[in-house]
Amino acid sequence: MKRLIRAAAAFALLGAASGVRSEESSAADPAVEKRVRALATELRCPVCQNLSVADSPSTMAVQMRSLIREEIEKGATEDQVRSFFVQKYGEWILLAPLKSGFNWLLWLGGPVLLLAGLVGIVFWVARRRRPIEDVPPVSAETAARIEKALKERLEDGA
């Protein structure tokens, strides 16, 4: 019984948003909706684990989305909305860290490794390169052997 009371108490969380202006968007401007959604995907829902404000079904996220909508309708730019949330919650709220200072390490790590790898491969191939010209012409006997080998290869697979 006590369990059920707890359950009922927690369920109030759901109905809670009833006090909230519903996110009625049938009349909303699709361009605004698109911007709201794009911004909401960049923000981390504070009460969830690794979900964005756009994806989370929590009341908090619903309220945040309506706040973003309001700000955009008032003419705020993306940067203004973003910095508003950063000011309140810290950089933590951004799902993609700002490209500045120490964070450049995050953004550049992958591309640097890829480039270094490409350079490495070029050198490795160059060092192991053997000109194809020094292969002697193939005799008739070898050609027959190759033909036979080829047949076997077809059986082998790969």
Binding site: E24, L51, P57, I121, I132
Partner: protein
């Protein structure tokens, strides 16, 4: 009683692993076959003992033996038997037991099947498995004993998170663990080869099937996990770049790189060192990933209840890194084996595979870097950061497209050297098909990324068809077979080649399915009973509000009639449920699956009197291709699995320059 036997079993496993490690090491060093055989028997004994522990714990769950704390915390009396059984891996201790049990099976089987083929390495090989098992059994006994007792006995257990009470959750974790743990087999082979300075590819041949098997399990585990998230979490997606997902994706990427580059070693005696590195990386990343999600160092959807196993795992990962790479640095230059062959031409299968490897490893690094960056940021700049989908998507989408391109190209470039004529012949038709697909996709969608992706997918698929066509012609010419026989011949005789191609088509399908999300349509609206709303081509009529308080949980649902152009498609009933002892309500989505698109609706909010609901609707094109692609991938890799390894079939020496 049962609990005591379980704990004793774990201690016995610990003792056996310690004995096995010492016996194998001394046996190998002093050349005492009896000791090595003893260590092998110890390995089989560990597998037996741990199997007993698993059975005991499973029995305890089925019998709801609440004298065992782990059972009491993760099951209750209302649970159906199947979920009570799967609750075994629903928590920290039990899932660790599953891990170590699978590890003992892999170790015992791998040692058993290779002891005659690889007698010189048999001791070292067993020693590596014993060392791994020793670590895990120490962790189980001292930090996460699944059999630890509870007193006084509770009348009922805590139950399993209802989100985990799903058929997919019965198979997803074992599949994933089969994949994670399986990476230990190529790892142990590679390490043993290093210890004995053997560069020859025998260990690659011997581990090929193990590698493919564990890769298939890992793939399946990941896809099933995504499917579960799609059905149960209700946010409309299947992949969130959560640390736990990344932890499974990283070894998947390196394993994929590994079994591609081992082909280069089989064929061309190249990349021996690189393959060792990939085998080490795959295993290390598997363990590191589980450290990340189990230790609580990073917050994740799946984070286990806080425990003190973090330091154990941290030490183990560090030790693995130091021993494995230390051995590599010390031994590799001294390794003996067939001389490495040379690259004949920069445009060849081997260099294409090398570049594909680079892209796979770079992706692994990006995933790893993004996953651990919050920890680095906190340590170095004292700032909490989040790294999520926007980062990973923007960093990896171009790499993904490049990989699709490389995959389609590499599979049709010949080994050694591709002459211009050969390239045109092999690539001509696939390129044309790709170009046609780009044009078609552009006409329909006008979306550049999607058009590129569609083109690349068609390019890959046409590569398969063209290759089969060419092979059939070759068989007809060489063997004088009729077309149907030649067709069967190509599929049955060239299993590895055809299997590989089919797998690539599977990957291309998955890629296309993922790119379908570019066209997701999402809407959120307030609906009252009797109202009809639209979502994409569908119209949804809110028929009635449904309450159910009878099924052991509180449920609020909304029943919708779904129509498309006046054609009834059935009813959907999205729900929110609250289970006893859980804080957050769960989501039951209403899902209408289709080959072209899915209609996915969620109850975002509702009035408890049923006067209105807030409905979130998603129209998700091409999602089905992700699951379909996985099936194709699985069929292809199974086909390749059944193919023969090159070294075990006689090779004509004449072509082996």
């Amino acid at each position: 009683m049962l609990a005591d036997l379980g704990t004793i079993g774990l201690m016995a496993a610990l003792a056996l692993a310690a004995f096995g490690l010492v016996a194998a090491a001394i046996g190998q060093r002093r050349n005492r076959p009896a000791l090595i055989a003893g260590s092998h028997r110890a390995l089989y004994a560990i597998a037996g003992v741990l199997t007993f522990c698993m059975v005991a714990l499973a029995y305890a769950f089925l019998a709801r033996d609440y004298s065992i704390s782990f059972v009491a915390r993760h099951s209750n009396r209302d649970m159906p038997a199947a979920y009570a059984f799967s609750a075994l891996w629903g928590g920290q201790e039990g899932s660790l037991l599953l891990w170590v049990w699978l590890q003992s099976l892999y170790g015992a089987l791998a040692v058993r099947t290779t002891r005659t083929a690889l007698p010189q390495l048999a001791g070292s090989f067993a020693a590596i498995f014993h060392a791994i098992l020793l670590f895990f059994s120490v962790t189980l006994v001292f930090a996460a004993d699944p059999f630890s007792r509870l007193f006084p006995l509770p009348t009922d257990g805590g139950g399993l998170n209802p989100l985990l009470q799903h058929p997919l959750m019965v198979i997803h974790p074992p599949m994933l663990y089969l994949g994670f743990v399986g990476t230990s087999v190529p790892f142990a082979f590679a390490l043993a080869a290093l210890m004995h300075k053997r560069v020859d590819p025998l260990w690659i041949h011997l581990s090929r099937k193990w590698t493919l098997f564990c890769w298939m399990c890992l793939t399946t585990g990941i896809v099933l996990g995504g499917h579960w998230a799609y059905l149960e979490l209700g946010w409309g997606g299947y992949w969130a770049w959560d640390p736990v997902e990344n932890a499974s994706f990283m070894p998947w990427l390196t394993m994929t790189a590994y079994f591609h580059s081992t082909m280069v070693q089989e064929r061309r005696r190249l990349l021996a060192g690189w393959n060792v590195v990939l085998a080490i990386l795959s295993y290390t990343l598997s363990v590191f990933g589980t450290f990340l999600t189990r230790s609580g160092v990073i917050s994740s959807v799946h984070s286990f209840a806080l425990s003190n196993i973090g330091p154990f795992f941290l030490g183990f990962v560090a030790l693995t890194l130091v021993v494995a790479f230390g051995l590599f640095i010390v031994q590799f230059s001294k390794m003996k084996g067939p001389r490495e062959e040379q690259i004949e031409h920069p445009v060849s299968r081997e260099s294409a595979i090398l570049i594909n490897n680079l892209f796979l490893v770079s992706s692994t690094f990006v995933v790893l870097w993004g996953t651990i960056f919050p920890v680095l940021s906190e340590a170095f700049q004292g700032k909490k950061l989040s790294v999520g989908a926007p980062f990973f998507n923007s960093a990896l989408a171009p790499v993904g497209l490049a990989l699709l391109f490389l995959m389609g190209t590499a599979q049709v470039i010949p080994w050694r050297k591709a002459s211009a004529g050969r390239l045109v012949r092999n690539l001509g038709i696939p390129v044309l098909a790709g170009a046609a697909a780009v044009a078609a996709a552009w006409r329909v969608t006008q979306h550049p990324t999607f058009s590129a992706g569609a083109g690349l997918s068609a390019f890959v698929a046409a590569g398969l068809l063209w290759d089969v066509a060419v092979s059939i012609r070759a068989r007809r010419r060489l063997h004088g077979e009729a077309t149907p026989d030649a067709f069967v011949g190509v599929f049955s005789r060239q299993r590895r080649r055809v299997g590989g191609f089919v797998s690539h088509v599977g990957i291309a399908l998955i890629g296309l399915g993922i790119m379908g999300s570019l066209f997701n349509e999402e809407k959120e609206m307030r609906v009252e009973p009797g109202q009809t709303v639209s979502a994409g081509r569908y119209s949804l009529h809110f028929k009635e509000f449904v309450r159910d308080h009878q099924s052991g949980y509180f449920s609020y649902g909304a029943l919708f009639d779904v129509e498309n152009d006046g054609k009834a498609l059935g009813q959907l009933r999205p729900e929110r449920r609250l289970y006893p002892n859980q804080n957050d309500p769960t989501t039951e989505v209403g899902l209408l699956k289709g080959l072209g698109e899915d209609l996915y609706i969620v109850l975002a909010d509702f009035d408890r009197e049923g006067k209105w609901v807030v409905l979130k609707t998603f129209v998700k094109p091409l999602v089905s291709l992700v699951w379909l692609g996985w099936l194709v991938l699985l069929v292809g890799s199974m086909w390749a699995f059944m193919g023969r390894s090159l070294a075990l079939s006689p090779r004509p020496t004449g072509t082996d320059r």
